[in-house]
């Protein structure tokens, strides 16, 4: 079978695998298959750096015997290949501890997805011509370089298009399949400031080609970010108000999500344990995970276990509404799945978000900054610095220093630290600039006080 299987072909594979697992001795079995095809163009220095085609078709089989789970996955989808995976999954189940909450949803338990069209598949994205992608990537780099004389080189640009098909079936007769596309573009601009290079990164991903912003707008934003950093310097250590750029706020939200899952709750790893129904954030804060956002990158009609996705409000006017569940944790805790069973072909289900965001607020970002007498505008960070168990936050940071409501000079060589629970409570204004660039998004946030450590 090709790496561009139809949903029906993939569905049939999963049903075969489930039948083989049942025949091998599984009491309950499910199978998840993914087929994907992607093509990525990378450009550097005005020419093509690489052209890469990816195409994978893989399947994973989960067998439950006496409440114990075994799992096997691979890319050999011949009948012998599937039978081997089924036998291995059943054999491995013998070694796991029985747990009566393990299982898979029946079609009735799972329910049907509402009829609304999520519009996840765009033929124009699936068939985006290689030459067109090359032209787009070249344009990204060319415009970024031409934007400002201080942008002296790029660290490359890329344009990628992909299509994927997903299928899930289980031994209760549940069978679901769907497909989607994506197209993405990014560029890294480098500006020279005499001391070192400064970086400006910007990128976008969309389900539909027509929704992708122009290459010019992406390139100019990357160039602006690099130039804005020229002459950056550190500042003295102080506790000050902080305005988080949407990218930074979205990264923080993604880090916090783990604490909002039933998985973290049962393992006592959640700093939100015991806080359901209580105020955990400023009443300006609403956190929503919407699996049904039309054309959303994280949208799908069903979750990885075949349960219809939905729009879940996690934090409502500052009040924590409850934890996200997959089928297993819902059964264990006596509730219903929230449609957050997350799964790829090479893994068993876990809990994951679809389109996660802090909802749009009312304040323009210029106003967020104008209200601050002395503080930090925080728009770039390192990758590590979050403690998922405590919510403690401490990241290397870059941005702009704010004096009397104005951004006065670029800053680097600092860190920004606080605790998530306190930070959520200290949000004094939420921006009106929510924009989806991936599956997590946030508007700008104004936090009344964090520690900025510098010289």
């Amino acid at each position: 079978m090709s790496a561009r299987p139809t949903p029906a072909e993939l569905q049939s594979l999963t049903e075969q695998a489930v039948a083989l697992a049942r025949a091998a001795g599984a009491e309950v079995a499910d199978a998840c298959a993914e087929g994907s095809r992607a093509f990525t163009v990378r450009v550097h220095g005005g020419g093509i750096e690489s052209l890469k085609q990816s195409g994978t078709l893989g399947i994973g089989v989960r067998a439950i015997v006496g409440g114990a789970v075994g799992f096997a996955s691979g890319t050999d989808t011949s009948r012998e290949g599937l039978a081997d995976l089924a036998a291995r999954a059943v054999a491995l189940a013998r070694f796991a501890t029985p747990d009566e909450a393990r299982g898979a949803p029946t079609p009735a338990e799972a329910g049907e997805s509402p009829a609304d069209d999520l519009d996840l598949f765009d033929p124009a994205a699936a068939d985006l011509d290689v030459e067109r992608k090359i032209a787009m990537a070249l344009e990204l780099e060319r415009i970024a370089l031409a934007h400002d004389a201080r942008v002296t080189r790029s660290a490359g640009s890329a344009v990628s298009s992909a299509q994927g098909t997903f299928a899930i079936a289980n031994s209760h007769g549940l069978a679901r399949a769907w497909q989607g596309t994506s197209v993405s573009a990014w560029v890294v601009a480098l500006a020279e400031d005499g001391v070192k290079q400064q970086t400006g990164v910007h990128g976008m991903a969309r389900r539909h080609l027509a929704d992708l912003p122009t290459m010019e707008s992406i390139a100019r934003e990357a160039a602006r970010r690099a130039v804005a950093r020229v002459g950056a310097r550190t500042v003295p250590t102080a506790r000050v108000p902080v305005v988080m750029h949407p990218d930074i706020a979205a990264s923080w939200l993604a880090e916090m999500y783990d604490a909002m899952t039933a998985d973290a709750l049962v393992q006592k790893r959640s700093w939100l344990e015991g806080r359901e129904g209580t105020l955990v954030a400023s009443n300006l804060v609403n956190i929503v995970d919407d699996g049904r956002l039309v054309r959303g990158l994280g949208s799908s009609p069903y979750d990885g276990e075949g349960v219809p996705t939905r729009r879940n409000v996690l934090v409502d006017a500052g009040v924590f509404r409850g934890f996200a569940h997959d089928h297993y944790h819902a059964r264990r805790l006596g509730t219903r799945s929230t449609g957050n069973g997350s799964r790829g072909f090479a893994s068993t289900p876990g809990i994951g978000y679809h389109n996660l965001c802090i909802a749009r607020g009312a304040t323009p970002v210029s106003e967020l900054i104008a209200r601050i007498d002395r503080g930090f505008y925080y728009d770039d960070s390192g990758s590590f610095g979050f403690n998922p168990v405590t919510g403690d936050y401490s990241f290397q940071a870059q941005g702009m220093w704010i004096e009397k409501g104005e951004r006065v000079h670029p800053v680097d060589g600092v860190t920004v630290a606080g605790n998530s629970l306190q930070m959520l409570r200290d949000i004094v204004a939420v921006g009106d600039d929510l924009e989806w660039r991936g599956a997590v998004a946030s508007p700008s946030l104004s936090i009344s006080e964090m520690t900025v450590s510098g010289s």
Binding site: A3, Q53, S73, L92, K196, S394, F395, G454
Partner: protein, 482 residues
């Protein structure tokens, strides 16, 4: 790393030499100067334990072939899962498209293959990845769980995983090179959660690498790993927040080397040197680190995850000195970037799997030992931070900004460790960080247990190392203001 039985490996049968030669010719049909074919078969297994229960056992097979064509500085790449000749031919034809404008004529088949001659850095007799059966793996996992819980009454939850990778690969290229190698990796990871009142803290520890099964039965027993994780979690319950600011920092040996990896090593990789995007490109022969600092990358460290006989392009691994007594003396090179710049490859061409083309990557990277005793380095600091356990770290290679999460630290007052510190982050710029080293311990340790390095979305196992080091000043992130 044994290679003796490789000639009759599954891979040799799945990817016969005639087929490899045909794929190389197809990849060069449009005039590409160079092509290679990379076949891989990997089996990944894991057992995980949560809440005292074996959650599941897993088994995954990853197998397929990637074909690369190079024209000038341009790469075409495509792969297929499995070994079906028709799918591989299609992949080769897609890769060949990189040379679509070339005027050159088809390059024809490669010369007869000759097997790369390279010595193994070490030999495994009974690797943990291949010799432990399910019962043995479960025994390790359960023993770790019991030991962590028994360590302290405040340990409320424990997660344990034991994972193995048994991977073999074959590489053939248009120069006529044929090389095969394998890697057997295993890893035991313990996470312990300590609760006391409203305080909740987590501690981690890990063991493994490219190791014999005896590693887990004698050197690093599950009990020892569990005790380390539990002790760290309990200690953090009483830890204080760090003071934010720039001041002297002493960084532990072993895993502390993640600093040299991030804030120096990445800027020495041949792709960034060739493109000039690394500040190091123009610094050959210049002082880039404090006097006394010697930095080495070597894929030949015994039992490390970062070691191999040949890299993923078939080049033998070697020891490469990057900095000698503070002066930059050499870079890391993969095949493509070495060829374009006229350098000799250093065995640093690596790829995450057959689904990716090779990049220039580090192997095991460390700072050589000096003469100071680690105790004396701490004793010499009037007021500062001793970083005992580091977590993850990252660098932006273009601007040099780096940061590290410090999972366990101690406050130093008048040369003595006074109290534990949690949630510290070290931040700085790789352009000058190595110049601030002002004390080099004699206690070099290389940690090849658990490190993975990400670059362009590709993750590869690495080792890092250093002796205990004193830095005259690093920015420490924290919530306390002094």
């Amino acid at each position: 790393m044994p290679s003796e039985d490789a000639t009759d490996s599954l891979l040799s049968r799945s990817l016969p030499r005639e087929l490899a030669a045909e794929l190389i010719a197809l990849a060069r049909a449009n005039g590409a100067e160079f092509a290679d074919v990379y076949g891989e078969h990997a089996v990944l297994t894991s057992f995980s334990l949560e809440e005292g229960r074996i959650e599941q056992g897993t088994y995954s097979v990853l197998q397929g072939v990637g074909v690369r064509a190079i024209r000038g500085d341009q790469t075409g790449y495509a792969y297929a899962d499995g070994f079906a000749p028709a799918a591989l031919r299609e992949a080769a034809q897609v890769a060949a498209r990189i040379a679509r404008d070339a005027q050159a004529s088809p390059a024809g088949p490669p010369p007869p293959f000759r097997v790369a001659d390279a010595a193994a850095p070490f030999t495994l007799h009974a690797s943990a990845a291949r010799s432990f059966d399910e019962t043995a793996k479960l025994d390790l996992v359960r023993r770790a769980d019991h030991a962590a819980r028994a360590h302290d009454a405040r340990i409320a939850e424990v997660s344990v995983s034991f994972a193995t990778t048994a991977r073999q690969f074959v590489i053939a290229n248009s120069d006529g090179l044929w090389a095969e190698d394998r890697a057997d990796l295993s890893r035991l990871v313990v996470s312990a959660l300590a609760l006391e009142g409203d305080e909740r803290q987590e501690g981690f520890a890990a063991a493994g690498g490219s190791v014999e099964s005896a590693h887990f039965t004698s050197e690093r027993t599950p009990e020892a790993v569990a005790a380390e994780a539990a002790a760290s979690a309990v200690l953090l319950l009483s830890a204080r927040e760090p003071e934010g600011g720039r001041y002297p920092v002493v960084v532990c040996n072993g895993w502390g080397g993640v600093m040299v990896h991030e804030c120096f090593g990445h800027s020495m990789e041949g792709d960034t040197i060739r493109k000039g995007s690394s500040i190091r490109a123009s610094q050959l022969g210049q002082q880039v680190a404090a006097k006394g600092v010697t930095i080495v990358d070597s894929g030949r460290v015994p039992y490390s995850r970062g070691s191999y006989r040949v890299d993923d392009e078939g080049t033998p691994s070697q020891r490469t000195v990057l900095v000698e007594d503070g002066v930059l003396v050499g870079y890391l090179w993969d095949l493509l970037n070495a060829r374009l710049t006229g350098h000799t490859p250093t065995g640093n061409g690596r790829r995450a799997s057959y689904r990716d083309y090779p990049l220039c990557r580090m192997t095991n990277t460390w700072i050589e030992p000096g003469t100071d005793s680690p105790e004396a380095l701490i004793a010499s600091v009037p007021r500062g931070l001793f970083c005992k356990k580091l977590g993850g770290g990252s660098v932006n290679p273009a601007d040099g900004n780096f940061s590290f999460q410090v999972t366990e630290a101690w406050q130093i007052e008048h040369g003595r460790l006074t109290h534990p510190v949690r949630n510290a982050t070290l931040a700085g710029n790789g352009n000058d960080a190595m110049l601030y080293i002002d004390g080099i311990g004699s206690d070099l340790a290389i940690d090849g247990t658990t490190g993975s390095c990400g670059k362009d979305g590709q993750w590869k196992p690495v080792g890092v190392g250093q002796p205990t080091l004193r830095f005259s000043g690093i920015t420490v992130g924290g919530t306390a203001v002094g």
